[in-house]
Amino acid sequence: MALAEQQTSPQAAQGASDRSWHGIVLQTLKRNEISLIPYVPDRVLTPLIKNLHADPFFTTFATAREEEAVGIVSGAWMGGRRGAVLMQTSGFATLANVLASLAVPYQIPLIMFVSERGTLGEFNYGQSLVCRTMRPVLDSLALEHHTITRLDELEFIADRSIKQAVTTQAPVALILNPLLTGGKTFDK
């Protein structure tokens, strides 16, 4: 991640109104009693992470690696507490082993929100390449995943997908596309 030279788009930096993408994600998590939110940060996710930290309903904290976060929410699920992991595309790319050896075989409803880098204006060649590995990995394990592009579909997809993950005891990846979030653009 090259953090210094880019800025978030104006769309992503808007306030935390309930109808912003991140406001909808936060409310959907809360409505589904998902209170444990480990994450590895991403610029686009910043308003969501900030608002999760500010809301005492959630236990929100950074982990050193994405698979660590997957381990934490898996343990929490078995202990009776629901969680979700926030990450970037490049972080998802580190997860094939833990998905195939923990979440899937143990039938754990792992809920992942992935901020999508690598498409629709990507400026870092490595990000565009790692993005192309994400859906093949998800498909190779036959994992449920949705790419969310529209604000008016976000709540429906997120709410239904969380409920499906829990009831079918299967992981789900919700990919937050730049069409939804504004993405990260090279503005300098």
Binding site: L36, P38, T59, F61, A62, T63, A64, R65, E67, E68, A69, V70, G71, I72, V73, S74, G75, A76, W77, M78, G79, G80, R81, G83, N97, V98, A100, S101, L102, P105, Y106, Q107, I108
Partner: protein, 198 residues
């Protein structure tokens, strides 16, 4: 205490001593390979969780259990090679400070199960120094079996997370965990009171 002053113990013996001390349905998460093989051999309990992959995640999984059930003591057993894959987890735990989490590292300096190759840390790194440097002040080497039991007793009523490192020999695990992940997970959830059997 430096590792040079510690007795070389045996994983199955130490694990059996730990299990013998558990009277309050404490959870135990066993890392992959010999660590959970010996946990299995020490006598299956519904509060045991056995990893069959995801090397290095015993502490994160146990952290999740500890955050979900703050009134239950949660133990995690991990090998030194496994821990080396996920050292960042020590700082995550140090930052969250779950007082009900107790981490035990079985350190033989080798990847015993793959042919006893030395780990990159063998001979140069000190697990307790790493843990302390990661923010886990309540970390210690067990000098011998009695000291291990004393450290476990202390950890049972500690007000911060504890890490106990044990220098062990190069013996393989005594048993072999039944590799049935769904049953392992379901039994564990029953053992933690999260679910009732069908």
């Amino acid at each position: 205490m430096n590792t040079r002053n510690t007795k070389v113990m045996n994983r199955f013996d130490v694990t059996s001593r730990l299990i013998g001390k558990l009277k309050h349905e404490e959870a135990v998460v066993g890392g992959i390979g010999n660590t959970n093989f010996d946990l299995w051999a020490a006598g299956h309990r519904p509060q045991n969780f056995y990893m069959l992959g995801s090397m290095g995640l015993a502490f994160p999984i146990a952290l999740g259990v500890a955050l979900a059930q703050p009134d239950r003591r949660v133990f995690a057993l991990e090998g030194d090679g496994s821990l080396l894959m996920q050292l960042g987890a020590l700082s995550t735990i140090a930052a969250l400070k779950p007082k009900n989490l107790i981490m035990i590292v079985m350190d033989n300096g080798i990847y015993q199960i793959t042919g006893a190759q030395p780990t990159p840390a063998a001979g140069v790194a000190d697990i307790v120094a790493i843990a302390t440097g990661s923010g886990l002040a309540n970390s210690a080497w067990a000098a011998d079996e009695e000291d291990f039991e004393r450290l476990v007793d202390e950890a049972m009523s500690a007000s911060e997370p504890s890490l106990i490192a044990v220098r062990i020999d190069d013996k393989p695990g005594v048993g072999t965990t039944r590799r049935d992940p769904v049953q392992i997970r379901e039994r564990f959830m029953h053992g933690l009171g999260v679910r009732e059997p069908l």
